[in-house]
Amino acid sequence: MPDIFIAKYKELPKDQEQKRSNLTHFKNFVKRLTQYSSSSQKNESNLKIFSTFCINPTGISFENKERDEKTLLFLRRHIITNFFWVLITIILLLIPLFFVFLNFYSINPFRFIDLPSRFSYFFLILYYLIVLTFALINFINWYFNACLITDKRVIDINFSELVYKNISTTKFDLLQDASYNQTGLLRSLFDYGDVLLQTAGSLENFDIQAVPHPDRVVHIVEGLLGRRGNI
């Protein structure tokens, strides 16, 4: 029986075809990334207090998250960047003990300025509370400086000195290039560096500082941008 109607095969315009292939590639990459994190890196999948690099973190969300949005990567500054303030805190904790030795083992560390003993104890307690607050502020400066990479966008959270808070977001469509910079002995030794995500036009670039494994971060971002197929 002869066919009544056969539609002619029309080739899609090149732009549409390109978009379709990019979308398929992107979906495959996200799927592979999810599988990769759940199978080979079980120890990195859950976010902990001191986590600095976490692929496909579970149990974490953020403000204005879309329903179908998946968090693929969670980044914080490398833990070694906390070394200096930890050292300062330890020195500050030891200073009163130093004065105790200086005053021939007298418990009152402020004896040398003739401060009455009952005052000196209160000042000592206040001093240790201030040191605790110093450590806490430095810790939250590190803790809340985070970067989240989802399958749709990049979110950079900057928080410093208690008064400065900046949350910048950009979609992957607006990202053009990803590169990293790893200079210095410490950075090479502990494998951390700065990742620069360049955005299109006059938009502000993303500078994610001192993140661990910057090569892997760039690799993942480039994969999401549709440039590389393998993780």
Partner: protein
């Protein structure tokens, strides 16, 4: 001579006490700002277990500072 000496000592004690209480009050206000900032950041990154621990430490710090203030009002 002796009376003026004791007055001076007493004045210095009072000054010490006022100074100490002022520092403690300013410190408590500062701690409230810290706690407020932690709270606001906790709303941005949701479901983070570490943030609740930080909040607890910050709250503990406020309680300790407030206790210090109250004890110093009574004892000093």
């Amino acid at each position: 001579m002796n009376i003026s000496f004791f007055t001076q000592v007493l004045e210095s004690f009072v000054l010490f006490k006022i100074g100490f209480l002022l520092i403690t009050i300013l410190y408590i206000i500062f701690l409230f700002i810290v706690y407020n900032q932690i709270n606001s950041m906790d709303k941005i990154i949701i479901g983070d277990q570490g943030a609740s621990i930080i909040k607890f430490v910050s709250l503990l710090n406020i309680i300790l500072a407030a206790s210090l203030f109250l004890v110093s009002v009574v004892i000093l």
